[in-house]
Amino acid sequence: MKAKNQRLTLALLAVVAIIVAALLALSALKDQAAYFYTPSDVAKDRVQPGTAVRLGGMVQKGSLKRLPDGVTITFMVTDNAASLPVRFKGIVPALFREGSGVVADGKFDAGGQFVAETILAKHDERYMPPEVAKNLDGSAMHKSESLKK
């Protein structure tokens, strides 16, 4: 390397690296970030099937059903203004029950049903995730992941 401008070259390389990282980060953010919705939000603006979504609300009383395979459940998530059906295959967190706060990560299928990949349920009083605190009276979350596939 020509000795003169080595510092400049290194500085330029650093700038290029940071720009590449920023571009990678932005494109990945655009495709991969999941926005938080309540059932009312979903009712207002349609969410495309297949988009990663984080759905928050309460498990509607009387809506929790277990399918015959013993590991799949369906329930309604409600924010008292609107409600949506959710399906989840997996072991639900210990604190998941009817009437409790819930955040489900997943996607809508073509039929408009929300298929959850992970379920977070209300934890105890001392942990307050901002998401739930704002939308519900809930607090931190216990998580379960569904069977991938």
């Binding site: 980060a25 295959k89 605190a133 931190a140």
Partner: protein
Amino acid sequence: MIAEAGLAALWLGAALCLLQLIAVALTVGGKAELAGIVRPVAVMQAALTALAFGLLIWLFVQVDLSVALVFENDSSEKPLLYRFAATWGNHEGSMLMWVTILGVAGAAVALLERKLEERTLLATLGGQAVIGLGFYAFLLFASNPFARLMPVPPEGRGLNPLLQDPGLAFHPPTLYLGYVGLSVAFSFAIGALVTRDVGPAFARAMRPWVLGAWIFLTLGITAGSYWAYYELGWGGWWFWDPVENASLMPWLAATALLHSVTVLATRDGLRAWTLMLAVVAFSMSMVGTFLVRSGVLTSVHAFAVDPKRGSFLLALLFLYIGGALALFGARVGTVREGARFDPISREAGLVANNLLLTAILGIVLVGTLYPLILEASTGTKLSVGPPYFNTAAGPLALILVAIMAAGPLLRWRRDNPKLLAKRVAPAAALALIALVAVKLTAPSISILSLLGLALAAGLALASVAPLWKRNLLRTPLFVWGMVVAHLGIAVSIAGMACDSSFTAEKLVAARVGETVAVGPYNVTFDAVDPTFGPSWQALQATLLARRGDGDVLTLNPQARTYWAPPTETSETAIHTALDGQLYTVLGKQAADGRWQLRLWWKPFVTLIWAGGAMVAIGGALALIGRLWRGRRKPQETWA
């Protein structure tokens, strides 16, 4: 009485810290009358913080419920270890631990560092005092651990059961040692900037602290990952949770710093860049502390929301980072350019390593902070999860691994491309063979895992190559350290790739007596019985697992209920075989009497943490080797 003594010790420590700063400022400003007191004051300050922390531990072990913090987080029903560990299992206690480690590290610098020019050393201790003062203020004004409670309650609330785990009891101290070690490196950089004394001597003084911090961060991340794996029962080992990122980001910065400081120490190159990285590394520690301690996060680690504390920490963060960047900007022009090197040389390889690590760090930082900033500014909520991090950082990490394989085979200053190609050829060939072999045996493997396995094979061979034709007994310890650490990365990557591609998973609703096949095992659901422990009761499943005609193994996953505070958790049961782990979780009982069981066969998953441990051991070997050599002869030979 003890609580008041602790608080008094803290105030005294803060006053001494201020004195330390004033003495340093006068000395650097030209009035050297107080120069002599800086070192003794640093040591006294450490003794006072240690005393305050010791008193808090005493209060926790004795369960003194008149102290609010003890009431909130302790319970006399808990075993001694958890009463002890509960001291730092909460906000105030852990911040006191932060300050204590900071104080002790400052004292260690004051007592042990003899090679650095005196003014630079004093300026370094001044930097430590500035950091210390901010955290003293935070403790005394926003998180007093010794606050009393009236009236005294009869029993404490207890510790979150998820945290009642021997591994986790020592997880926060490990990470804090890493964070604080980086603060010392930062102070060295500040000292060097103040006195404009940036050179190999400064780099050699700073290196052990960077290495030490990096070892603890490595251990902390590895242990935290294994904890999440077996305690949470989700079968994963890394969730890109902001709290995990809070420990990963300083690690990435420290890894870059570790490599650039070596260039500065051996070749007197990359001066300004090394200073910048020291600032970045400490900034990441501050960001990490802010994320974990301010309560801005939604995660299992999230602590109570308290905006006052959050803003205080945020102000400290901006003050330190802003101040350091301003100093850097003002002084960097006067730092002379270091030694030059060719585009094909060890230095250039390390520059590439640094650029890639920094780029990955940027990606993780954006993914971690963007949701927080977006929500704070517009109210829009979004979550950024593994898909983002894997797509954005994965490709860069693979390139980094390739460069990592070639790096140690490069010569300092200038290398011949043809000779280099010859040295790299065996590793490249092995990587190619591995690529083809894996693709043929597992055609459906994901591209990231395929490349990961191939590169891991190449990296493993390239890592041990520096030992080739060397007298192994006379090879310096720090070369061994590099070999072991790089090999550890290869081992860890192989584990990650195997786990993500070859894991077999079964989720079933089973009746007692039913048998389920998962991976090479047949698992029979034998029974469910109630059981109990010192602070919980549980339903415990008995699973009989058999592999081929082998012995029958018994696994007992539990669904536990803790009493104080009332919490339900699931305890996994894991069997470790040579070639992987059988991982079992007991779920809920369905109305028809069947039980949910979740079973995984995870081939070679243990390599992930074994690799992490190897990386830390490599770091320890390098640290011992450097210190040993530094003791024997002041002038270092080229590594």
